[in-house]
Symmetry: C2
Subunit: 483 residues, 2 copies
């Protein structure tokens, strides 16, 4: 989902009344970012509070390449990483993930081995259908065991776009919340639904209800679901005890437009890129009785802050034995403070850009290669800024391209290198980058090796369902990451 997909963020069809209401009752973050323009690294960052280059969710197979966890990936979240639910356990929290895990699907990466107590969802994206010969269909798990596969037991009709998955995930959330409220147990719910990822789907009751086509139907279903979750918290009388944060894992995928693509509002390009359209996210904090209604914040925020903020809410300290990139947003949310901190835009192993205040410096520019672009893969459809949306990887390390995101949110007008403004802003940013690079200890890259043998052939529990498939011979090779 992109920054521009909610009514509160200026989507012209304005079809998200529940999320808009959530913002009106809570705090809207206009300068909130993901840690990576792709799903797996973003989610790994959220749960560890650390940049993907630290927690291992990146590749070194190529320079500045996006990577994620398709089902032939060998790697996953390292045991050495401390995940938010692992820490929250210490404060008595029950932790549940509903939806897409995406931090590795081999047994050692299972979410219940990394702090979660419950899981209903899938380890990978709902791509498919597959024929179960070259590639198995993606399994869904309930806790330790698979309970079926997408397209087989959990239908997605690619022709009509119908699938009731968001409804299943919603009901699962409501039930979990009810159970926790009944048992008076604190809980952490990571509601990481697949929608609006392509192939886009919505339940029958939402199909055809949006001005925006199928993608809009999916957005409406999410909006409706969030509304139901918030209402449920209120009806159970625990809304003033429950902190809720809504955001997305990367910008809208413009390659899926117009039928399945979202909106990044006035920003440049989309998912896969380190332009604003790829990494600035819709974000809303909600906590009645604590967050003043109608708040708006320009705090530079990041999904990694949800790690630190959640620990703070639970009265816990972040780990002191490692670098944590997230910050505690509670002073921002509760007292309206602004914390000075940079945003780092990575693509794989390369620091592509840095934002400090209203300035953003690009050290590398790249949309995608001419070769990929020639195949019709376009991360910036209809947009082209000379020297900025480049189709070769352009290095600007010695003279970064600098933009003022207040005057130029669309990153169209680089500041003159000779200007005093450039000199001043770059002086500050250069120091931040130097410090960042000097102290950076990259993690072991997890997204380098792919092997068809590790695919979801025989997930735990497959025997009971008669859904075990025979894995082919192991044939590990370097994963191919074209972007």
């Amino acid at each position: 989902m992109g920054w521009g997909d909610l009514g509160a963020f200026g989507e012209p069809s304005k079809e998200t009344p529940n999320l808009d209401q959530m913002a009106a009752e809570g705090m809207l973050f206009l300068d909130f970012y993901t840690a990576n323009p792709l799903c797996s690294p973003s989610r790994a960052a959220l749960l560890t509070g650390r940049l993907p280059v630290r927690n291992g969710f990146y590749t070194t197979n190529g320079h500045a390449r996006n990577a994620y966890t398709p089902q032939d990936i060998v790697g996953g979240i390292p045991d050495s990483e401390l995940l938010l639910p692992e820490l929250l356990k210490k404060a008595g929290y029950t932790n549940k993930i509903i939806g897409k895990w995406h931090l590795g699907h081999q047994p050692q990466f299972h979410p219940l081995r990394h702090g979660f107590d419950e899981w209903f969802g899938s380890p990978n994206c709902h791509f498919g259908p597959y024929n179960n010969r070259e590639r198995p269909n993606i399994p869904l798990y309930r806790d330790w065991d698979m309970v079926g596969r997408y397209y087989e037991d959990f239908k997605i009709d690619l022709k009509t776009g119908e699938a009731n998955l968001t409804q299943l995930y919603l009901q699962e959330a409501l039930d979990f919340i009810s159970k926790q409220q009944a048992s008076q147990q604190p809980f952490f719910l990571y509601w990481a639904i697949d929608a609006t990822h392509a192939p886009v789907y919505a339940s029958k009751q939402f199909l055809g209800t949006s001005q925006r086509g199928l993608y809009g139907d999916a957005v409406r279903e999410i909006d409706d679901s969030v509304g139901k979750i918030l209402k449920h918290l209120q009806q159970l009388g625990i809304s003033e005890n429950t902190f809720v944060f809504f955001t997305s894992d990367n910008g809208a995928a413009l390659i899926s437009a117009p039928k399945q693509g979202g909106s990044n509002g006035p920003f440049l390009c989309g998912k896969q890129t380190t332009f604003e359209g790829g990494m600035r996210e819709p974000a809303i904090a909600w906590w009645p009785g604590h967050i003043p209604a109608g708040g708006v914040s320009h705090q530079l925020g990041n999904v990694m802050d949800l790690f630190s903020t959640s620990l703070s809410l639970a009265g816990l300290q972040p780990p002191s034995d490692r670098q944590i990139d997230g910050i505690d947003l509670l002073p921002v949310i509760l007292q309206g403070k602004l914390i000075d901190r940079p945003i780092f835009y990575y693509r794989g192993n390369e620091l592509m850009a840095v934002r400090a205040g209203l300035y953003k410096a690009h050290y590398w520019t790249w949309s995608n290669s001419w070769e990929e672009h020639g195949k019709g893969i376009d991360f910036c459809p209809g947009q082209s800024v000379a020297g900025v949306t480049t189709h070769t990887q352009e290095e600007h390390t010695y003279l970064p391209l600098l933009f003022h995101l207040g005057r130029d949110p669309g990153e169209k007008y680089p500041l003159s290198f000779a200007s005093e403004e450039y000199q001043q802003a770059m002086g500050r940013i250069s120091g931040l980058v130097q410090q960042h690079k000097d102290t950076l200890v990259p993690g072991q890259p997890q997204l380098n090796v792919c092997d068809q043998a590790v695919m979801n052939w025989s997930p735990p529990g497959c025997e009971k369902l008669g859904k075990c498939l025979k894995a082919p011979e192991s044939d590990p090779k370097k994963c191919s990451w074209p972007h």
Copy 2:
């Protein structure tokens, strides 16, 4: 000002708390249009309720050329046109225009000859400064007489961007409203300020206050002023008796970006074009006690509707002896109705595009000529959609380019000509266009002839001020309209 310039419409700096509050208390129009992507024709359409091609505010000097009223224009609003204030007079209204008139500056076009009772402002844009030899500086009028000239008596500092004009216009508005309230007289105030038109300016107290640079300072000053006007109405106890509508006369001028350019949000291109960025406008209706707070409408609206709606509010009928293009929006505003009506997008004498429902058909596409583009004049900076943002005038009359503005607000993905959806939508639109063209009686074009002798050399009242200048010999010629 553009659709994307207000916080309520998704401007990322969200610096318009008063306009956002106006929207929260009133009704937000997300699909509201101007009648022309340029100032003069738009304003003529607002005040006559008629398309510029009917009321004469167009040119036939070239095909599909935008034209306006620079100070060497010979034409202006014809006597045969009935303006909103002329009609409101019949219902006892006192009518005032504050700001830019722009419907002709020769004596016969004076606003007080066309229904206004009072005027404080200028007949033309605040371009300058001029040397008063080749070209006089633009005069400001109070009612019948000039009271000074821009850059001489009404300072605009092009270097710092400082000018207190919006403050003067605000005070004038507050005083007029007070006077009318005191005398218990109904009034029509047309607050047609120059800001945010380039050269962009703001008062000292607003300079440097925006994240968005000088343009944002000007937006903030407008926002603050609107807030003060609404508050004044409330304090005088007449807010429930006063209908207020905020909108703009054309999309943001992207040629002035980034230092003086605004935002058209997710829409394509800007001022001068018939893409959404040129013609879709921010729009808010406010009338406490009548309009339900927090309303949102997808009614296809047009500045011409303000003519018909205002007449309806005053209990008057629109003229029956001529075609009126505006519609009465009161059923929309007060009862939430949706009225099925098309939007016609003209450039000069050519119907470039038509919107019906969510479909928009382009019969002609053009941004600007290669020649103008080569001079650095770019109405679509950073945007380029093959076959759409064309630099030659491309005719699509026999096979219009069709867009679905819900799925594709950015006009990037024309529908397949072979699709059933195309056939169905075009069947309907073709009928609307046929009917429109069959019944169209173009007015006498007013924007064809320019003459340096008609410039503002010696406006009425210049003697008293010693500000009369000698006009050169009359030398009428065809005006040059490159766009």
